[in-house]
């Protein structure tokens, strides 16, 4: 297979341990995958090394990147020092949060805000809730404050005024004045980042965006520099947390939108695979070293959430793929607590030192150690940079730390560790499905990442799922997602309009404006798209309620109008409210709180048949003999198959192990796996 094509697009997902790449030739429908080690702090090296496995970088048409640079900077508090200019009396909004605490039980622990108090200054100004400017901003004071913050060592500046969502005039004037004296481009006002009511959420999002601007900016600069020096002249894009793609120019301005870039790409690919396979209702499970990320896809669509919390007091309010994370991964440590109960996670050995079997200094058993002892992982095969895994050490750790304290034999103890980890993963799946009113019996699990497929069978039983769908390349799902993701830009604006007697023309004009802006940004991204859809959603409620329901509007932007009317909105509201709650409240006035606009540049459909097995594949050729695997309390001889060599239509009965370079699939007894026309493995109960 050749890598030479002017039409090649590469998805690059840089994770903590590996950089995964998916190379795709749109014209020929051919693809290649690659996996190279990541270099923490020098991601560009792994990135370029991965790209060159496909041939000269100069021959690539475009690169789409899912990154965790922003995520890591947020989690490790390694963002830039940020100065804040704000309204008198509101200097501490960022630090006061919404008056929460770290945990329900226990009053210990404090909080360090993303901008320290000495770097938050007040300047005379005040806007009221209805948008009236009560006190015009003192521009000289804004300049003085900006100079002082720069002198104190701040590298980015955020201007956050109370009620700026209702009228951004004071903020914009202050921004212009401060720009005159601010030494760099890392400067923004809150109404430009998130013109939405709720000062803490807006302040937190604006400040976290500012802390990332220098970090993500310089990262992208290094990457673009490295690509340019290798002769790359194509388009370079970044995946956003909402599962859409944006230009690097937008990413520099709104780096906060990369917070869940990597995982979001995976969910996008999962949704596409699920739709193509004819199973539009799936629950994805990405089992990494320390965490298990779960996301629900209903009707082929991933759910978006308006807000997410990175860590205590660090709120990001921007549309993101809804991903629930629990602390259960391959590196999760098993221990017996003081009350004699076995627990697995959330404490994790991560990838360094990693599980006991990695031989890198950890002596407490992990989930991976248990899977190895049970024969579910082949210890003789290389894994990344490790040539083999130390089964004896894993067994000894389980004996000392789990089996003896519980009075069990080692194999029973190892199986117990796996069962408890399964129970925790099942809990996360129940939360995202049942809590939102979805019946798990209609959903298939879609494991991706390296380890998830070992646990799919157990999750089917534990949660009562319909089955599982294992993608052809579970280990590079996020990289594949980069290639197939649409281009997307989201906007939000608090409007606070009563529905009764609505001035529909004025709202329409506003929607045309936000829709045109978003569409222009998508068009500017420069990737080929079939069309650009503009979608609108309103957050609405009955007057007096503080919570809202999301009301999607079935209108679009055409000929400078959306065709909106009071009746259209009321019908949409009643449908959405009725679906969320049992009864409508006739007679109570209805309010439109927020207008949400999304422009989506639809990429040409990715034909997943490109991934299908070769028509020449033969079942016999895929057989790799058998080996004993410990299942339900006994060693059982299990067939071993080379997963990628299985032909379309192959039917395998459990117990069996299906192996490929980036994942191992355990097919429990009582389950049957079939290879579908796209090369996916469909696992159902027999």
């Amino acid at each position: 297979m050749t890598a030479r094509s002017a039409k090649a697009v590469v998805g690059v997902d840089v994770g903590g341990t590996f950089t995964d790449l998916f190379w795709f030739d749109e014209a020929q429908g051919s693809f290649r995958v690659a996996k190279v080690p990541s270099q923490r702090g020098d991601e560009a090296t792994g990135f370029i090394a991965g790209l060159t496995t496909f041939g000269p970088v100069s021959e690539l048409a475009s690169i789409v990147h899912g990154t965790t640079v922003g995520t890591n900077a947020l989690l490790e508090r390694k963002g830039a020092r940020v100065g804040v200019i704000t309204t008198p009396g509101f200097r501490d909004v960022l630090e006061m949060r919404r008056r929460d605490r770290r945990q329900t039980w226990g009053l210990w622990g404090d909080f360090t805000p993303a901008a320290s108090r000495q770097d938050r200054l007040e300047v005379p100004e005040r806007t009221l809730a209805d948008g009236t400017v009560r006190t015009a901003v003192d521009l000289d004071a804004a300049r003085v404050a900006a100079r002082r913050l720069a002198a104190q060592g701040c590298e980015a500046l955020a201007i956050i005024f109370i009620n700026a969502y209702a009228n951004p005039a004071n903020e914009r004037a202050a921004l212009l004045a401060a720009s005159e004296v601010w030494p760099n481009a890392h400067i923004a006002c809150s109404s430009a980042i998130l013109p939405e009511i709720r000062e803490f959420e807006r302040a937190s999002t604006t400040v976290l965006n500012a802390t990332l601007q220098p970090v993500v900016g310089s990262y992208l600069e290094r990457l673009e520099g490295a690509l340019a020096s290798d002769g790359f002249t194509g388009r370079f894009h970044i995946v956003q947390s909402n599962g859409g793609v944006m230009s690097t120019a937008t990413a520099r301005k709104l780096p906060i939108r990369t917070a869940l870039s990597g995982p979001a790409a995976g969910v996008i690919a999962a949704a596409a695979i699920a739709r193509a396979a004819g199973f539009p209702d799936i629950i994805t499970g990405d089992l990494g070293g320390t965490s298990f990320d779960v996301s629900l896809i209903a009707g082929g669509q991933a759910a978006l959430t308006a807000q997410s919390t990175i860590d205590f007091g660090m709120v990001i309010r921007t549309p993101m793929i809804e991903i629930t994370t629990i602390g259960a991964g391959g590196g999760s440590i098993a221990r017996v607590d003081a009350g004699g109960l076995l627990e697995v996670g959330p404490e994790s050995a991560g990838s360094r030192p990693g599980p006991v079997c990695y031989g890198q200094g950890n002596d407490r058993p992990t989930l991976t150690d248990a899977n190895l002892v049970l024969g579910r992982i082949d210890g003789g095969k290389p894994l990344g940079t490790l040539q083999s895994l130390d089964v004896a050490a894993a067994r000894e750790a389980i004996r000392v730390k789990v089996a003896e304290p519980l009075g069990l034999d080692v194999m029973t103890a190892a199986e117990a560790i796996v069962k408890i980890a399964n129970a925790r993963m099942a809990g996360a799946i129940r939360l995202v499905s049942i809590e939102r009113g979805h019946d798990p019996a209609k959903f298939l699990a879609m494991p991706f990442g390296g380890g998830g497929a070992l646990h799919a069978g157990a999750l089917i039983k534990e949660v009562g799922l319909r089955g599982a769908l294992v993608p052809r390349f579970p280990g590079v799902t996020s990289a594949l997602g980069c290639v197939i993701a649409d281009i997307r830009h989201d906007g939000v604006q608090t409007v606070n309009l009563m529905l009764d007697g609505l001035d529909a023309e004025a709202l329409d004009a506003r929607m045309v404006e936000t829709g045109s802006e978003a569409r222009a940004i998508v068009a500017d991204a420069g990737l080929s798209v079939e069309r650009i859809d503009v979608l609108y959603e309103l957050d609405m409620h009955y007057l007096g309620q503080t919570h809202t329901v999301a009301v999607p509007l079935r209108v679009t932007l055409a000929h400078d109008t959306t065709g909106i009317s009071e009746a259209v909105i009321r019908a949409a509201f009643e449908a959405a409210y009725g679906a969320a709650f049992s009864r409508l409240l006739p007679g109570i006035p209805v309010r439109i709180v927020t207008l949400r606009t999304a422009a989506i540049g639809r990429r040409p459909d990715f034909d997943l048949r490109a991934l299908a097995p070769s028509p020449d594949a033969k079942l016999e050729a895929a057989s790799r003999g058998s080996r004993p695997v410990y299942l339900d309390g006994a060693w059982r001889e299990s067939a071993i198959w080379s997963r990628l060599d299985l032909p379309v239509g192959a039917r395998i009965e459990g117990p069996a192990m299906l192996e490929q370079s980036d994942a191992t699939i355990l097919l429990d007894p009582g389950l049957i796996a079939t290879v579908d026309g796209l090369g996916n493995l469909v696992i159902l109960r027999s």
């Binding site: 008198p88 009396g89 200097r91 929460d100 329900t104 809730a129 069962k419 809590e435």
Partner: protein, 563 residues
């Protein structure tokens, strides 16, 4: 019965907690009232068939309810033991504070779950309804002298009888509330939660069978009890005492003593509150069950890793005579119970600072400051702005106290200033941390807050406040200093004025352009101030948490060194 294997035990623990959590989630989603929907002032769980003991509790509900719900179930069990019928398809409803309740807003639903014709356990749901009648909308009446002025009271009665919904009960409730529609929505949400809990529990029992699940439930309680006993056994034997005070009862300006004598003896503890003040005239009384529930909250904060079920309470004896304001009976008013339970929790913290300083934290700000501004907008429409406000948490062995946290009895968040300004004719002129409000210490107490509010309506606003800690500051522990006290000031013709009851007022009026200012307490400090890292003091001064003058006076930091 044979002991269960550890694996089944762990899996059942997860599944049972999941059931309670799903019940919580169901009510939050379907409630109409933001105090439940957003502030999560609700709770769900599974309770023992004959003792009412808490078996499994949701993890997201309000902490104070976790200890209180067993008493609610016991109130129903007592009715059944006295001869009331108890059938499949029944659901009980009540809010009686003197019979398993807390205050009148907290409406409880209790449902028996039968298996093979035998009572297996109880499911219960509690949620804070917005209005249950009485003299004051929302029911925080600082001047109530009888519970009749606080709202309607319902003893345990059947809302559903063998599956048949008793609409006449709902009609009575609806006729006695200012907000029947909101209550109706919440009631349906609570019923949804019970329905879901029952379905999930049935499925679990189908999977595992009654004997296995029963054995697991016994094992969980035994485990919590064993952990609690082990924790107590590690404490030194002896009797330790701590007294704290409420400012007043809102009627008479005299302090009310809350006194705890805690005796550790081997694996057991006795919490004796006999020396506390007698029942008071105003709404600061609480019932016995509420007092036990808040001790449970205090112990769970001190021992966060002990599981939340009735086993925790087995090694503990309570002495709470009905001659004290902590064992009050009808019709003594209880509407301000939040303040009293916070003080009881403080006495437990105060005692543990003596017994086990390595587990202690300085007192949190420990007042909910229920503040209302009410009046009319310029268009004539009526408004009531009602909220609880935040303050500092105590310094502790691990860290400084959290700035602007919520109270130990709650996990509720505060509405944003922008939401309040958009909804009511008010303007916040300060929403800020309060410097020098955290108690001094090796680990400083967290800062309280300053909220200053200007009335924008032509007709101004009436102001109501039910708070505490205006005369007795949150204390420090292990050598730490006290925090700043609660302070309330309003503009009047005489200039800035503080009310006679310090933290409790009704019937004050401010005019357009006039302001009220609430300065909430910080948290108490932990450890001697002289042991504080000088760099931390310098950071405090640079960030304005501590003024240069106080840094010099308390920490001995020379002013030039602070620069």
């Amino acid at each position: 019965m044979t002991a269960l294997d550890p694996v089944t035990l762990a899996v059942l623990k997860g599944r049972l907690e999941q059931i309670a959590n799903e019940m919580d989630a169901t009510l939050y989603r379907s409630a109409f009232n933001p105090i439940i929907a957003e502030a999560h002032d609700a709770c769900h769980g599974l309770y023992h068939a004959t003792t009412g003991d808490t078996l499994v509790q949701g993890t997201s509900g309000l902490p104070i309810f976790v200890g209180a719900m067993a008493f609610a179930v016991r109130a129903v069990i007592a009715r059944v033991e006295a001869g009331a019928a108890n059938d499949p398809g029944d659901t009980w409803i009540f809010n009686d504070p003197y019979d398993g309740g807390t205050h009148l807003n907290d409406m409880r639903l209790v449902r028996p779950v039968f298996r093979d014709g035998k009572l297996f356990c109880w499911l219960a749901s509690v949620g804070h309804w917005l209005d249950v009648g009485g003299n004051v909308p929302g029911n925080f009446n600082a001047k109530a002298t009888e519970s009749f002025q606080e709202g309607f009271r319902i003893p345990p009665v059947k809302l559903v009888r063998k599956g048949e919904f008793q609409h006449d009960i709902v009609d009575i409730l609806a006729a006695n509330s200012r907000l029947p529609q909101s209550n109706w929505g919440d009631l349906n949400g609570q019923l949804n939660a019970l329905d879901l809990g029952q379905q999930r529990l049935d499925a679990l029992l189908d999977d595992y069978g009654v004997p296995t699940v029963e054995a697991a439930l016994d094992a969980f309680s035994a485990r919590a009890e064993a952990l609690m006993r082990a924790e107590i056994a590690a404490l030194p034997d002896g009797t330790f005492s701590f007294d704290d005070f409420l400012d007043n009862d809102g009627i008479t300006d005299a302090p009310l003593r809350i006194a705890l004598d805690l005796t550790v003896s081997g694996e057991r503890m006795t919490l004796d509150f006999s020396r506390s003040a007698p029942p008071c005239q105003g709404p600061l009384n609480i019932a016995y069950s509420t007092a036990v529930a808040c001790c449970y909250v205090a112990l769970k904060h001190i021992f966060p890793h002990v599981p939340a079920n009735a086993g925790v309470l087995r090694p503990i004896t309570f002495v709470i005579p009905n001659t004290t304001l902590l064992g009050a009976s009808a019709p003594k008013p209880v509407g301000g119970y939040t303040e009293t339970i916070l003080r009881v929790i403080d006495t437990v913290f105060g005692v543990f600072a003596q017994i086990a300083p390595q587990r202690a934290n300085g007192s949190p700000y420990a007042t909910i400051n229920a503040l209302s501004l009410a009046g009319h907008r310029d268009d004539g429409s009526r408004f009531v702005m009602f909220s609880f406000f935040g303050g500092g948490l105590g310094g502790n062995p691990e860290s400084d106290g959290l700035n602007h946290g919520n109270n130990p009895i709650s996990t509720a968040t505060i509405p944003p200033a922008e939401i309040l300004e958009a909804a009511y004719p008010v303007m916040f002129t300060q929403w800020a941390l309060r410097p020098d409000s955290g108690g001094a210490g090796r680990h400083r107490g967290g800062c309280g807050a300053i909220y200053e509010i200007e009335a924008l309506a032509e007709s101004g606003a009436d102001v109501f406040l039910l708070g505490e800690r205006g005369k007795f500051p949150p204390f420090g522990v292990a050598g730490g200093g006290p925090a700043a006290m609660n302070r309330f000031v309003y503009d009047s013709a005489e200039g800035p004025t503080s009310p006679p009851m310090v933290t409790k007022i009704t019937d004050i009026h401010i005019g357009q352009g006039q302001r009220v200012r609430l300065e909430s307490p910080g948290g108490g400090g932990y450890g001697a101030p002289r042991d504080r890292d000088p760099d931390a003091v310098r950071r405090d001064v640079a960030n304005g948490y501590v003024s240069p003058a106080e840094a010099e006076r308390i920490y001995g930091l020379a002013r030039e060194a602070a620069r």
